[in-house]
Symmetry: C2
Subunit: 294 residues, 2 copies
Amino acid sequence: MDSVETPFGRADDALGGSAVFFAAAASLLHPVQIVGVVGKDYPMDALHRLSRRQVDLSGVTVADGESFRWAGKYGFDLSTRDTLETRLGVFANFKPQIPAAFRDTEFVFLGNIDPELQLDVLNQVKRPKFVACDTMNYWIQGKRTALLKLLEHVDCLMVNDSEIRELSGDWHIHRAARWVIERGPQYVVIKKGEHGAVLVGGGKVFYVPAFPLEDVFDPTGAGDAFAGGFMAHLARADALSDRHLRLAMVYGSAMGSFAVERFSIQRFDEITPADVTTRVQSYRDLVHFELDTP
Amino acid sequence: MDSVETPFGRADDALGGSAVFFAAAASLLHPVQIVGVVGKDYPMDALHRLSRRQVDLSGVTVADGESFRWAGKYGFDLSTRDTLETRLGVFANFKPQIPAAFRDTEFVFLGNIDPELQLDVLNQVKRPKFVACDTMNYWIQGKRTALLKLLEHVDCLMVNDSEIRELSGDWHIHRAARWVIERGPQYVVIKKGEHGAVLVGGGKVFYVPAFPLEDVFDPTGAGDAFAGGFMAHLARADALSDRHLRLAMVYGSAMGSFAVERFSIQRFDEITPADVTTRVQSYRDLVHFELDTP
């Protein structure tokens, strides 16, 4: 549960967390199975609203104790935030068990958690076609060896620019991406907030800008919503071609843009798959140009 | 003349200045007429190399005194720089006189100088089709009234992100662009360095990323080279359509990417129009995607 303060308002104990944002976004495109843990204090009714929309919650454990809580406050331009509080609660002893019915999943996203647990989750999945993982500075500093081992087993690392700089020790994000690719993943997605996102891999680079929103309300969860859109497009297309990886980036960026328009996952309650299609189409106009006729 | 120190080396008293970078880039696409002032100490031989490539230097005055000098040092990631020295020299008393032969020019770029002088230059040109201007924080703070008056007479303001934020008082660059558009210009180009550039106007937004260079050597002059590519494409196409404004953004970005690959205007001595075409084509691969078939 997140308590968030932005220059535009505040939300207390709102639905939050990687899996929730991921699922709220992804389920607009494709069925989702989530694995996670909540405490007895969790507003399960709110979570169950997701199950009305292709989200299988049978991998969510309700454990004795308090739910994970994060509280943060954003600066006036929303590009910086201070963490006011982090209470692990039941998350501290979480050891994900993948339900038998989930083990054939072909598209797997490993949310931001201890890389040892990410690898443990991956070992419980039979033969995924495509595995992407997130991480954060905390693990880059504290569990570097485990994280590097995990990278040998994933197809795509999805991080923000400061994370890949810290991981690789190189401020230049394209060199940093190649550093990661030499360590296992075929692809790297670098999320740059208001500056868009970039996919590096397969000898190519693909950029997608951030959608030029009139108002950004709350950046929390944008990265996880991005991951949801990205993975759901690939799963739905059941394809890993250059064409579909590019489109997955655009779906990811579109979902990130919806996430920031309201607190929590509110915006995903309001929109339909048709709204997603409309936004994805409008990205085309943002970046496409025609070369001179020869 | 610029003296520049970057993490990769240094250059002393190298050819520099807005008009020089603009002309070096633009002349790869279209003839250029430049107006400016240098001191008796200026290396005119180096400047005359430009005249071999469609640059008309008859508007350059050689005045008694020292040339304008700037010295700066960039931080390790090249995104910050300290000005070590600025000596105005003959620039202090510069009052641009547009040669009679230049007064029919249809595409006019007003480099970064006192906005009163920019307006004075504009008044000397007969009936331009398209006028773009640059400015900087120094004028935004010190000559705000004159700058706002100038904006009523130009078609396009071309600035960086920090400048448009300061000018409009709004950190949100899309709102800031609209603020500018309400004051005269139809278009705003916002240069964001490593984060690319954006064109706002005509009810549209168009993004172009920065080219993913292996090595950025010296960022000095990238913005002026961008302006050179942008204006030269429009002049060459003799068109202001959405299609050509987009292409102009890509030519601008390509020229900016060449500028930063070497000190001063060195790179523009090495490349040909065919190299520019190749780079512009490679932008297509950076951003293009195909929508789902319906």
